[in-house]
Symmetry: C2
Subunit: 250 residues, 2 copies
């Protein structure tokens, strides 16, 4: 598999490129609207054809690049089926692998950050790669205080779907705010301050429910924009228009 970890600085989002070295078919997990041109260049540089974009959830902190990439490449938009988004081409769900050339990704239904969140597991004979989205972050986890988030659910998702994987499974999160790039299941079990070290569920729920975080600054337009697969809503405040000011906006 061809693999590349890409970064969008404004929302500290990791986008993951996975591609089949034989068929040259590629998929992007959680692409960002503002880095679509960068992503297209990365694809061209490697002679890859984007066949799909895949969302872990409806993001509140950035606008997805899904629709824009579809306009440019014809890629299919894949989202959790339970969202039933009219703009999506493929609804994904646990138990139904996503196949791109020789690559197989296994969706894992992992609610808690949002009620529809899915992670994706790639298994090779050598390594398992777990794309944890906003459920599990390095030394952290996604917040649970909006979009039907639920700390109890997130605890169950991480313990039952992630911490049951082999220790060496690589953890690739959707965000990092301190320039960390990769972790492992062993590492998160051992030292994640919110979820590791056998921390009990009631402690975790109390911690998450008491965080009292401000809402993400782009949330008011990012959520409706991403429910339209990465369209710029017309009511974006000027100071947040950013990439939506581009000529080829969706």
């Amino acid at each position: 598999m061809i693999f590349k970890q890409l970064f969008e600085t404004d929302s500290s989002t990791y986008t993951y490129l996975l591609a089949c070295p034989k068929s040259r078919e590629a998929i992007l997990i959680d692409p960002v609207f503002s880095t679509v041109e960068r992503d297209l260049q990365v694809l061209r540089d490697r002679d890859l054809k984007l066949v799909a974009t895949l969302e872990t959830h409806v993001h509140a902190d950035h606008l997805s690049g899904g629709k824009r990439l579809k306009q440019r490449t014809g890629s299919q938009i894949m989202c959790p089926a339970m969202l039933a988004l009219p703009c999506a081409d493929v609804g994904i769900q646990e138990g139904q692998p996503i196949v791109v050339g020789s690559i197989e990704l296994h969706p894992l239904f992992t609610p808690g950050h949002t009620d529809h969140h899915h992670a994706y597991l790639f298994e090779s004979p050598m390594h398992k790669l777990l794309f944890t989205g906003d459920a599990l972050l390095i030394d952290a986890c996604g917040r649970t205080d909006f979009q039907s988030g639920n700390a109890d659910d997130l605890y169950n998702s991480i313990h039952n779907k992630f911490f049951s994987l082999p220790d060496e499974t690589l953890v690739y999160p959707a965000h990092d705010y301190e320039q960390r790039h990769v972790s492992s299941i062993a590492q998160e079990k051992a030292r994640n301050p919110r979820l590791g070290k056998g921390r009990p569920k009631e402690d975790f729920v109390a911690l998450m429910d008491g965080l009292d975080l401000p809402y993400p600054r782009k949330m008011a337009f990012a959520v409706p924009g991403n429910e339209a697969c990465g369209s710029c809503p017309e009511n974006v405040p000027p100071e947040l228009r950013g990439p939506c000011a581009a000529s080829d906006q969706g």
Copy 2:
């Protein structure tokens, strides 16, 4: 490739098991004397035959399991050739890959922590795995104040041999003291406080030369013991005998 990251708690040493899934041949990088029985069990559990142990350098903080494993399994002892250790079966050097079944490891001569230190690079179509020994640690690096260590050399080794590898190359160090398990070249370039962020060589050398660390508590017997490939020297102080008290000592 079969891959397992093993940990020895007293010296916080990572031992790495790499094995060919077809031939069932295995190699252990930096095995530890006190965890030989654990390592043998890991091999048995996976129906693997240990064909070699491979040292990154002569360790000062723990006794190698190389000789003891050879006694138990017939495995060859591989060490940097420039050491010319009479106890070694194979002298390794950069430019001469180590082949174990379908696995190829590329030695990288990386002096600085010691004058004979080698790292090992495994390349698959998907991922590169870099076993950095004591040269590069996660958010840190090996010390340079004994065993012909040299901060200038370590800076060159890390910048020229490691930081020139692709961003996604996984960094597997020989130690971690904070339960971190894995990093990447991108991560170390971005945030290693000693070597990342474009820190100039003169800053690094001044920092390393000013660390003023106490010597490792096992150094007086570990270094001669490891120059004999993991034999217990007869003059081990009682409080440090530990694994050397075992009946099957080398």
